[in-house]
Amino acid sequence: MNSQTNLKVVLVLITVVALFSIGFKIQPILENYDDFSPNTVYKVNYNYFFKSADKNTAVKSFIPKSNLRQRISEQKSISDSTLYFTKQISENGNVKGIWKTKKKNTYHTLNYEFVFEGKEKTYMIPRDFGEISEKYKKYLKPSENIQSNDRIISDLANVLKQNTSNDKEIINKIFDHVKAIPSAPIITLTDAITTINQNRASCNGKSRLFVALARNLGYAARVKGGIILENTNKRTSHVWAEVLINKTWVPFDALNNHFAFLPANYLEIYKGDEFLITHTPGIQFDYAYQIDQVNHISFLKMNAKEVRELSNISLWSIVEKGVMPQNALNLLLLLPIGGLLVAFLRNVVGVKTFGVFLPVLIAFSLMHTGFVSGTILFVVLILLVGLVSYPFDKIGLLYTPKLVISLSIMVGLMIMATVIGIQYNIAWLTMLTFFPTIILTIAAERFSRATVEDGYKIAIDKLFQTLLATAVCYWLLSWPWLPSILIIFPECILLIIAIAMLLGRYIGIRWTEFYRFRPLFV
């Protein structure tokens, strides 16, 4: 047997083993395909403790329901047998859990548990909004704590309205004004006018002011209540505002700067200016929300146990046991895929890049910094370091010491930019430390050498090709399903080896060579 046949045998063997193993899992996974695809999953538990009074005692709490961006499942109410649990749906669609007991002067514990799966959602806002139908007119009326027809609110609303030309700009002005009010952890109820007067507020004051201003200017608006889910136990709930824009309730959280956007970990519980918990007055009462993040595979309708039972060959146990941080695991798994993509770009397409795997590593950095600002930072760094190290090239220094100088310049630039970024509160400037410093330095060094040896035109061209390869890597690697697929199907790594072997024996003309040798093709 010659090496060619050996290669083929190995190739076929690897592929067959990998596909065989994948085949075992593919059927149950296709059956459990979930088109909801949540970004985050949490298990939430309301823990309420109270001592019942001398009469019939009741504890009421709003409970969440599913909608287009959140899915609530596995709801369970656990409490002692003397508590009687009922659900009540109010006319505006809120669902209330009611726990009643006739037993007097006794201590009770009740738990209401459910699983939350959430997606983040961004809303597009038109410049001008449509008419509000009769059904929603009630969302224009003032209430006790949302004094939307008060003169103070009117005055402020009229100031904000000035120099605006469409509805979107008005909402923007209101949002910016409320956002700029200093926030303070005020637990007591703050109404809209108090928020203006004391010029500081927590979420509830800000939301009421936002709603009051919106209503005053003729936009149907309401308060929305829920909990920001984090992997911890907490006692704080949260409220934000919603504006009715062409039949859609669009969220605005001026406290946390979410404009027409709801993050994946926002649990929506009720609408309207209400209290999350109410109970019979005068009883001893305490509460906590127990929140635990649940590992999940975004496109699967399976819980952790079902995924575990899927197959022994998966990395799910690493995720579950928390052997390593999920981010680190994802990064590790994505590296070979990124590498394969670069190999394809170099050997099949014929893209020339500074540094073999530089595009993959830069693509990872871009996931932290954001694509546009990250790309600009990357180019500026390469150009600056290339420019600064140019005189050292001219002096004629040995390679390694010269590299140390470039590295020092790179580190200096990064520290300087970070300091300036923090000083003047420019977020994107503080992102520099996400870049792989040493590899970036070597790339800058190659760039400056290329300008000397091949001329700046070829060097810029190569930099452009590096950016192109980075963009392609970013596009593939930022696909949210990819890490999950690799966790369930680690066999993909074997397939990558097989594909890389094929690529390694590829003798076809590179796409860019069609251009280079074009006189020979016509």
Partner: protein, 298 residues
């Protein structure tokens, strides 16, 4: 739109065009024919010349090799009686670090028309030894006789040192080109340094078209001297020493660089284990075709 579309349709397939791309060159030509352990024989000019001398293949006479800084002065005393010298890094690439020095009428050394102090020459040799021209690794200085190009080249373009590149596979010359400097290339003859390539008709031993990286001409673009059809002096000799060189080295796919000295005729300058593919463009011919017909050349 439609003419462009038809242009694409009219394109030859890679098979028809016989072009060898980088992937195919690496996998089918370099890997199976050139064993990595023999690369130093080509990458180090001192080693290359040792073998050439051993087989009596004509090449520039080696005056001295300097391996240590402490030897520079001693070697210089032995060499300074020559009228002209070429100082080269043994493992330089792309012509970097090559210094040609000549004595003028007053007996001063000059380099590129300027007077060169002995101190500057020593510094240059020290830089070569420190590896400045060979990516950080220790290197040796090769001091050899200076080639005077044959008057044939003066008529085409009167500056720099033009050289022939002959590609050989299994000791058979496949394709050749003549590389000439231009006004824009600063005396260098490399294609990617703005030199021009001139195709070679291997059977007739004559020059064909001139290629400057974009367009084809029948003449040198600066001097306008028509080269198409001009017979190459010493062509038989060039083929002979190419084959002899290919046989002397345990490397079966080579790019051999040859210059023609006005007194001594064709001389081997250096050999390459990874010869570039631009030669196909210069000759308007794919390498695959020549490989298929290679027995015709024997």
């Amino acid at each position: 739109m439609i003419p462009m579309f038809s242009k694409i349709l009219d394109m030859k397939s890679p098979k028809e065009s016989n072009v060898v791309g980088l992937n195919e060159r690496n996998i089918n030509l370099i890997y199976p024919n050139n064993n990595k352990k023999h690369y130093p024989l080509a990458d180090d000019k001192v080693l290359t010349k040792e073998i050439l001398h051993q087989y009596d293949i004509p090449c520039a006479e080696t005056y001295a090799v300097v391996a240590y800084n402490s030897d520079i002065k001693k070697v210089w005393e032995e060499c300074k009686h020559y009228k002209a010298l070429a100082i080269k890094p043994a493992r330089g690439s792309g012509g970097g670090g090559i210094k040609i020095i000549k004595k003028d009428d007053q007996g001063n050394w000059t380099s590129s028309g300027k007077v060169a102090e002995e101190r500057q020459i020593f510094q240059h040799m020290a830089a070569i030894i420190m590896g400045f021209f060979s990516l950080g690794s220790h290197d040796r200085v090769l001091i050899e006789e200076c080639i005077e190009p044959d008057p044939f080249f003066n008529r085409i373009y009167p500056a720099g040192v033009p050289d022939f590149r002959i590609i050989t596979l299994d000791q058979t010359p496949l394709m050749g080109m003549l590389r000439m400097p231009t006004d824009r290339s600063d005396g260098k003859a490399n294609l990617h340094q703005n030199g021009v390539g001139i195709g070679v008709d291997m059977k007739k031993g004559s020059l064909t078209q001139v290629y400057d990286g974009k367009n084809y001409f029948d003449y040198h673009p600066d001097s306008k001297f028509v080269v198409k059809g001009k017979p190459i002096p010493y062509w038989k000799e060039i083929l002979k020493i190419s084959i002899a060189t290919a046989k002397a080295f345990p490397l079966n796919y080579l790019g051999i660089d040859i210059v023609i000295d006005k007194n001594k005729g064709p001389q081997i300058m250096e050999i390459n284990v990874r010869p570039g593919l631009g030669i196909q463009l210069v000759n308007k011919q794919g390498l695959k075709e020549t490989i298929l017909n290679k027995n015709d050349f024997r």
